[in-house]
Symmetry: C2
DNA sequence: ACAATAGTGTCTATCAGACAGTATATA
DNA sequence: TATATACTGTCTGATAGACACTATTGT
């Protein structure tokens, strides 16, 4: 008794909530660089949820770890390679997938890829970076994800899902991913997983504040980060203002 | 193509790292209460790893969520009911279980049960609360788990496993569980999940400091916790000193 | 010169830790 | 009285935020 074969087995999938920063030109002031937080979603071609957007991911294969499965699916479906992966949790509601019993192990994936490398893979044609907005309203924060067209895909307020145009339970998973991202940035300096090797202090601030929901003056932000940074000899290419010294992350704590 | 049936499926298990506090009488000063951190392990009766200690847990069944499976197995195997559950992560190395392909979703479980309720369940006879010790050495912390007899079951130093008498990869899982416990206590007040409804400030301090690896004076600890506590009208039964007012957790943030 | 961001220094409120000192229980 | 813990208050040093001020780039 109690042998492995006696138990029914679910399918196991690995899905990833991929965040990245996109350096966009703002129109308002002609040429200001603005770093925007993006999430990577894929338009589904088949039922169920055909036409809807979903997280990249797929089924675990024999001989793989879940991390390997997430990496593989991410590369195949979106061209994103070697992101930082953090396990988010398993989503196991028995009816979460209309096709059958599927337990999904979700990952938080962070990429330094500023360029949208969507064009690479085979299925990648249907992958898109979506705009993530996080605004603080009175007594509550609102997270929303919109298409480039402006179509609202996900809208949450204080952890409650208000609008949800996503497939499966992926809205829940994204919400858990963002919460985890916030915690890891606040307490474990995960912001650096989104940055390139060299960066200016001001490049850190906008993403940091979008993700954490905080706001500080540039002067004070510099002081807060100083202990985690190392100066380099390099400088930013100039804009219409003083050039910025580039920094590297100080090695030490993970 | 790409149908669910095309993929091989692993068995899926839910295992729990259960922590609890045990109020023990210290011998040194005749009658001092000391709260010790304990972890719940089960002696395996069958191969593989017969005779070794392992985490309580078992296979996910049809129609269940992983949380339900963890709760059920915990009740069946150890008699621990309704602990606070937090997902730790999935362990998926293909060779982690000699019996076959088993993905284990691990939980951190916290119980307020001061009394050792081991005697309840059917398999519970083989469940035991083990002593968890965490000491700070020069440039590194050491976590170890010992039997009541003093037998060393797990010994780690700076995240490296030095001694491991446990079944499967459960040493790794316990290590991840303790790290997560530390983080959650530090940043999300999870210490209260281990406390009864009413408690004295000094009852909080010892567990808090064991888990977080910090040390503060009783006076300063009181000030740090004050904002999270509400006074009650109750007092501790007296020892050989002034009676302590009992507090309740202030409701608000989870 | 002007606009815009980079970067420094200074003041202040807040908070954590050190520690002195009082209160109250039992032996 | 002695002792051990409960609890209060005061000082100090580190840190976060407000903000004044200087530096350097392109237009």
């Amino acid at each position: 008794m109690n042998r492995i074969e006696d138990y029914a087995r679910p399918s196991v999938a690995a899905d990833a909530v991929v965040f990245g920063l996109d350096t966009a030109q703002a129109e308002s002031r002609g040429g200001l660089k603005q770093r925007k937080l993006k999430a990577l979603l894929i338009r589904r071609g088949e039922e169920p949820f055909a036409g809807r957007y979903a997280l990249p991911g797929g089924f675990l294969r024999t001989g793989e770890t879940l991390e390997q499965a997430a990496q593989r699916e991410l590369a195949e479906e979106t061209g994103v390679i070697q992101p930082k992966l953090i396990q988010l949790g398993a989503f196991s509601r028995p009816d979460r997938d209309p096709r059958g019993w599927v337990v999904s192990c979700a990952f938080l994936a962070l990429t330094k890829t500023v360029a949208l490398s969507t064009a690479a893979g085979s299925d990648a044609a249907e992958a898109r970076w979506m705009q993530v907005s996080c605004t603080e309203t009175d007594q509550g924060e609102a997270l929303s994800i919109t298409d480039d067209d402006g179509t609202l895909l996900l809208d949450t307020e204080n952890g409650q899902i208000k609008t949800n145009a996503l497939a499966f339970d992926h809205a829940e998973i994204i919400l858990a991913g963002f919460r985890r991202l916030r915690d890891e940035v606040l307490y474990h300096d995960l912001i650096f997983a989104l940055m390139p090797e060299l960066f200016a202090v001001s490049d850190l601030q906008q993403p940091y504040e979008i993700i954490t929901g905080t706001h500080t003056s540039p002067q004070n932000f510099r002081k807060k980060m100083a202990s985690k940074l190392v100066e380099t000899e390099y400088y930013n290419e100039a804009a219409a203002h003083r050039t910025a010294k580039l920094y590297r992350r100080k090695d030490g704590i993970t």
